[in-house]
Amino acid sequence: MDILTLFIVVPVLTVIVLLFVNKLEKARLIALAGMIIQLIMSINLINEYMKARAAGDHAIMLFERNVPWYSDFNANYHIGVDGVSVLMILLTTLIVIAGIFVSWKIDYMPKEFFISLIVLASGVYGFFISLDLFTMFVFYEIAVIPMYLLIGIWGSGPREYAAMKLTLMLMGASALLLVSLFGIYYYSGTNGMEPTFDLMELANRKMDFAAQKIFYPLAFIGFGTIGALFPFHTWSPDGHASAPTAVSMLHAGVLMKLGGYGIFRFIMFLMPEGALFWQDFFLILAVTGVTYGAMAAIQQTDLKYINAYSSVSHLGLVLFALLMINKTAWNGAMLQSLSHGFITALFFALIGMIYGRTHVRDITKMTGMMRIVPFLGVAYVIAALANLGLPGFSGFVAEMNIFMGGFLNNDLYKQAMTVFAVSSIVVTAVYMLRLVGRMLYGPVTTVYTNLPKAFWYEKVAIGILVLFITLIGTLPFWWLQFIQESVDNFIKPLVH
């Protein structure tokens, strides 16, 4: 079996083994073991990938495999990876592992919880390795549907409403995406050729401009919705607020990245003229999202809402960068996807840990948590500083690539948009420091003085995430070497 298919097989096997256990102690160990295998494979994949590139393999995609799957539709199980997908796979693995540690003591239906979590993860892996639009869409749906169960069963607050809203909005977006994919499929067959879903094959066929104009915005909104594109982001605050911790981590950390990744990998690549035609329009939505999300975050008092709006702002930057259509900005977009993945997962992990102790998420009701749970307090400060783009952490390097890329456009309109986007760094500082000042600093709230300190499994989860936030922030060139060659290939249709 090839090394990519294993990324789906191992989670499936893990799920099968999980079916036969009932106890939490066993379930979490099995889940962890499965994901550790994934981690080893992820690292091995990076290693193999670097070896292949060093040996002079300059194919766009490596480790390709193409198996007919549904031949009537000409849909194939076509897989392969490049630099960006390799890193995304690593991100997914690390966040699932951190999520398992965070859910170490989950008491309600642990087995089913871990099964749903890993099924979701397997969908994500499949998405990142797919080179066939149909296969990609199938995996995408596998990733989205368990979310409904995870929020509806293990969530808190108005969880059924939130789960319903999240699923319906994402499904609605999927419908738009599906229409667009069928459009691409249909128009690939116009010159007497057989229509195809194959990404590499489609790239060689030129899609009709009039069709691009129709199907590009549908697909952009379809992927944009999960990537928190304004004004299709409202599922995210409610969804995250109700979701259990590990699900929030995985959802904000990985699933929301599928949007930007899909636009990068499929939509802009296959419909370059449509992308250029709609560029300015979507740019306004993206910039609005960046500043609007940050401004809305200032008013929130619920930790999860603050983070959800912060995500709208920071993922807005991913879309913003993609719409800038130049290499520097795209490097930044991919780096920001990774960076935001780790940072936001860290936030949600910490929020879960604090909520688990105080049963409150309102920052006006807690003060002086730094004295009570110092480890979590320090980690929260680190997360806040990383989020506001402090050098040394991942957010900074990503944002600087984005802003520089935006500014390198020889076009006053785009430069002005960049200036707007830059203003978000101030607003982010306002809401992050407000949160830190209210919740962590100040005199201790007496009812909370006896709360337990951080447990070892919590420290492991935080440690993993902080480590990678600093690794990206201090060694950006290592990460960028993967991203750059991928971006170089995929931006070609758009720039001449």
């Binding site: 319906l168 009039a210 069709a211 129709i214 809305a296 200032i298 008013q299 500082a429």
Partner: protein, 647 residues
């Protein structure tokens, strides 16, 4: 190979110290962590002085000109494009070496002083970890060879300042002061960042040596002349870029109107105020302008530099006026710092470039150097006094001269230095600034002259009211500071007396060529500035040496004006109004409401409507397979028809 290859150790040692102390803060207790931090700084101090010796006296000067040497640590840390990159490199030239001396000297003294000052504080180890972090960032800032790299360290000094101002994080006033400092400087940094992007876009490099080169300057100037660069209100966008970069400097250096964070920053422990908010971080803005001085001076006839001169001059006056009436001794010193930095900015702003023309540049750097010594000293004495009296307010003090003689004498030396009385350090640098200003513009000179008088007055008001004035009865009789604190005071007092005699222009000059400048003792300018300083001191003596009625009379004589200055011209209230009443209430709140009610409301409405609709059409869900097949087929047919239609 290069003589200065070891230089990366200078920022590296404090960084490692920070990481070590940060990770072991729980286990390594006082005083070990303090000794470790101090030992690390001592190594940095020795390396810095060695570098200064090597650079200024052995290797630095080639063919009558100081060389700019670049030591590359990591090329292409981030590559934006082929030409634009963030390289991690170190630049060695007169101003960076001078700053190295300033930062390492003051930082070492603060480390030693804090062994006594922070004694028995629960956060002792954390304090030393933060001090190391700050020292690392500041050394990185002064050594950075790249405009983007300076921005990186710029943010890092900002966050160290944030952590240290909010060091007593259980005190709400400290928390809000730290937040304010960070956000105000971040606001300025936004302009800085935009300025960097613009400079990079036009200059096609972030490297200082490339940006400051004649070829880059003449290229940009020719673009401006040929109208190839967009211009706005008669100035080219590139000049705006330089102004934006300077706004970043205004934020860090507390220039009007971005100064409001500095007085509040005094909530931090006093050694921190001495290190960060008097001697090093707050002069980063001055250093930044000096770093890019060739650009500021040559682009579009120095239009951006005129802006620097105006902002500097106004801030010097504005802060001096406020300092006259403040009661909290640290706040007096804070406004004094702002005023003196205004002086430095003014000096850069009025400077020419070649040889003697560049007197202002030299004087600004010289003043930065001397000011760092005596202002750090003033703060450290203030810390010793606060430590002894347990209050920041002057009316709780008085008559301390007999209790704390070392503090009193060292404070007097520093006060004489800042007032500009020869032979103390401040006299020499201030006099050069006024000379340069006089040649440039008489109004700017006159403001500077006036500020010199005010400085002498408020500084001696402070001195007399702390150490003489009245015989306050203390609950606990104040003691002289312990040996480690006194050592730092005496060392800095010696520096304050000595550094004025350095003939600075032989080392630091705008065009890197040494020149000779000396004081003309008979010059009316020199005599005038000594006289106005003496007048200020005399007035302070009359009003404050003994308790008199004059202060109250003068205050009531000024009426409204007195209240305005005492309330710092209501700048804080103005900011609060703009941020809370306008940005939070009129922008942010409506957006949050709009999102929850309009956008989300629309989505919910969509959901409710769908539900109603499905109530009506649920008979379709008959459960019969052939019905479903029918719907499915008709759906597919419809989609296909739509697609064919649009084709």
């Amino acid at each position: 190979m290069n003589t200065f290859d070891y230089i990366y150790l200078v920022p590296l040692i404090p960084l490692l110290m920070f990481l070590f102390l940060g990770f072991t803060a729980k286990r390594i207790k006082e005083p070990i962590s303090g000794y470790l931090g101090t030992a690390g700084l001592l190594a940095v101090f020795i390396l810095s002085y060695y570098t200064a010796y090597r650079y200024f006296f052995v290797d630095g000067i080639v063919d009558g000109k100081f060389q700019q040497i670049r030591v590359m640590v990591k090329e292409g840390w981030i590559h934006f494009t082929d030409k634009l990159a963030i390289d991690i490199g170190i630049i060695i030239d007169p101003i960076s070496v001078m700053m190295l001396v300033v930062v390492s000297t003051v930082s070492l003294m603060v480390h030693i002083y804090s062994l006594g000052y922070m004694h028995k504080d629960t956060g002792f180890s954390r304090f030393y970890a933060y001090l190391s972090l700050f020292t690392f960032s500041m050394l990185g800032l002064v050594l950075a060879s790249n405009l983007f790299l300076i921005y990186i360290f710029w943010e890092l000094v900002g966050v160290s300042s944030y952590l240290l101002i909010g060091f007593y994080f259980e005190k709400p006033s400290a928390v809000s002061a730290s937040k304010k400092a960070f956000i105000v400087t971040r606001f300025a940094d936004m302009f800085f960042l935009i300025g960097i992007l613009m400079v990079g876009y036009f200059g096609q490099s972030f490297d200082f040596m490339t940006l400051n080169s004649d070829s880059t300057i003449s290229m940009i100037n020719s673009w401006i002349q040929n109208h190839q660069i967009f211009s706005f209100l008669g100035l080219s966008i590139f000049t705006y870029a330089l102004i934006f970069v300077f706004i970043g400097g205004m934020g860090k250096s507390a220039m009007f109107p971005l100064h409001i964070w500095l007085p509040d920053a005094m909530e931090g422990p006093t050694p921190v105020s001495a290190l960060i908010h008097a001697a090093t971080m707050v002069v980063a803005g001055v250093y930044l302008v000096a770093r890019l001085f060739p650009l500021y001076y040559h682009i579009e006839g120095g239009a951006a530099l005129r802006f620097v001169a105006i902002v500097g001059t106004f801030s010097a006056l504005f802060a001096a006026i406020i300092a006259l009436t403040q009661e909290d001794i640290k706040r007096v010193l804070a406004f004094s710092t702002m005023s003196q930095i205004g002086y430095m900015m003014m000096a850069l702003g009025v400077s020419g470039f070649d040889e003697h023309e560049g007197l202002g540049y030299m004087a600004g750097m010289f003043h930065l150097f001397t000011h760092a010594m005596f202002k750090a000293l003033l703060f450290l004495v203030a810390g010793a006094v606060i430590h002894a009296v347990h209050s920041n307010f002057m009316d709780k003090m008085g008559g301390l001269h007999k209790h704390m003689p070392i503090s009193s004498w060292t404070f007097l030396i520093a006060a004489l230095a800042i007032s500009g009385i020869p032979p103390f350090a401040g006299f020499f640098s201030k006099d050069e600034i006024l000379t340069a200003a006089f040649e440039y513009n008489k109004v700017i000179w006159f403001v500077g002259f006036l500020v010199a008088g005010m400085t002498a007055f408020y500084m001696f008001r402070l001195y007399f009211r702390i150490f003489h004035h009245k015989n306050t009865e203390y609950e606990h009789p104040p003691h002289e500071a312990p040996w480690n604190m006194s050592f730092a005071l005496i060392f800095l007092a010696v520096m304050t007396m000595a550094v004025g005699f350095i003939s600075f222009s032989e080392y630091v000059s705008a065009d890197l060529k040494p020149f000779h400048s000396h004081i003309h003792w008979g010059d009316p300018l020199v005599i005038g500035s000594i006289l106005i300083a003496l007048t200020g001191i005399g007035a302070a003596y009359l009003m404050y040496y003994k308790q008199t009625e004059y202060p109250a009379k003068v205050a009531s004589g000024f009426g409204k004006v007195y209240h305005w200055t005492k309330n710092k011209f209501y700048m804080d209230e103005l900011y609060l109004f703009v941020t809370h009443k306008i940005i939070f209430d009129k922008i942010s709140k409506p957006i949050a409401w709009f999102d929850r009610n309009v956008i989300d409301g629309f989505m919910n409405l969509l959901g409710v409507t769908t539900e109603n609709l499905s109530e009506r059409i649920k008979f379709i869900q008959s459960g019969r397979l052939q019905d479903y097949a029918m719907y499915f087929v008709s759906g597919v047919v419809a989609i296909v028809m739509i697609i064919i239609y649009f084709r």
